[in-house]
């Protein structure tokens, strides 16, 4: 890895840390001055999950039946167990089995 990329990686991580701390400290800082309106509150509540949806949808678009079925298995496992690692394992197992035995890519 080149030195300039190495430096860029460090800068990225430090900037991520700075904005993250800003959000952690900012609530206490603001709270005595401004009371967020219900609209802003709802916006902030719904944004994290919307970002997850925004990542998932294009990553599944154009994929085959193996990925679609594995996505369903992952979701069902997550709803039933509420366990990230179990759900991930189920999804990975499903996708690798289906690719091997059912929907073999040419």
């Amino acid at each position: 890895m080149s030195d300039s990329l190495e430096l860029l990686v460090i800068i990225t991580i430090v900037c991520m840390a700075a904005v993250t701390y800003l959000t952690r400290a900012g609530g206490l800082f603001i709270v005595s001055r401004i009371n967020p309106s219900p609209g802003i509150r709802a916006f902030l509540t719904h944004m994290p999950s919307s970002i997850l949806v925004a990542i998932i949808v294009p990553s599944l678009a154009g994929k085959g039946p193996s990925e679609m079925i594995a996505a369903g298995v992952t979701a069902i496992m997550a709803v039933c167990t509420r366990n990230l690692v179990l759900s991930l394992a189920a999804g990975l197992l499903t996708v690798s089995l289906l690719r091997h035995y059912l929907f073999v890519q040419p």
């Binding site: 990225t12 991520m16 701390y21 959000t23 902030l44 994290p48 366990n83």
Partner: protein, 237 residues
């Protein structure tokens, strides 16, 4: 809450210890999550020291995983930092909710405690606070517990990934190329709060998909997030 109650807020080592111990079961769950992060970080091209640095100074699971999704040889620094900011905006509300403890604790201890605040430790702490407990160090202690598990598991996950790489040249054999999608699907289900979520997520997915087709780079993540948040705001006013 009466002013007299606020004045009696304390901040003791014992309170921090209690928060740490009560958070251990949640820490074990975070440990598994950190293993995933450590492994995916190596897959995405970080070296173990960079992955560890990220867990030490950023310390925010969802945004760290999303940063990996954006990671590449040409690092989109601005997109990663903006996404991190947007993903972590919820902390503003969580920090604000700890007001009754933190306003009377003193700025140094309060802002130190907030550095370690996570979804898990916050949920425990806000319940502790609501039940009338007075020791605000609980938030710091429970946060430190998550910090401990998160960083140990990042280390182990990164080490495991090196080991797996050595014996496995093609990640698609074990379906590892699907790992990111699976992680985000599982995380998404944890955000389910009922049917009101459906139009929000449909808007997010639709806008993300259209942006993905029309715009280069990873703008679709931010656009989808803003679209979902906006629909959520209008429906909840």
């Amino acid at each position: 809450m009466k002013a007299a109650d606020n004045r009696s807020i304390i901040f003791t080592r014992r309170g921090a210890f209690k928060g740490f111990i009560k958070c251990v079961p949640l820490g074990v769950g975070v440990f598994a999550y950190g293993l995933v992060f450590g492994m995916l970080a190596i897959q995405a091209g970080l070296d173990p020291i960079q992955a560890q640095l990220m867990s030490l100074v950023v310390f925010a699971g969802a945004s760290q995983l999303m940063a990996l999704e954006l990671w590449g040889p040409e690092l989109p620094v601005l997109t990663i930092v903006l996404t991190t900011l947007v993903v972590n905006l919820r902390h503003l509300l969580m920090g604000a909710a700890m007001r009754d403890w933190l306003v009377r604790t003193g700025p140094a201890k309060s802002y130190l405690s907030l550095y370690f605040m996570t979804d898990e430790s916050w949920a425990l702490s806000v319940r502790e606070m609501a039940s009338g407990k007075k020791d605000a160090a609980f938030l710091l202690g429970s946060g430190l517990c998550i910090y401990f598990f998160w960083n140990i598991s990042t280390f182990v996950g990164a080490a495991m990934s090196y080991w797996i790489d050595k014996y496995l040249s093609d990640p698609s054999v074990l379906g590892l190329d699907f790992a990111f999608t699976a992680v985000f699907i599982a995380l998404l289900t944890f955000f389910w709060r009922g049917r009101a979520q459906i139009p929000v997520w449909m808007a997010a997915g639709l806008v993300a998909w259209i942006t993905f087709i029309l715009l280069p780079g990873k703008w679709y993540i931010i656009m989808g997030g803003l679209a979902g948040g906006t629909i959520g705001a209008f429906r909840n006013v």
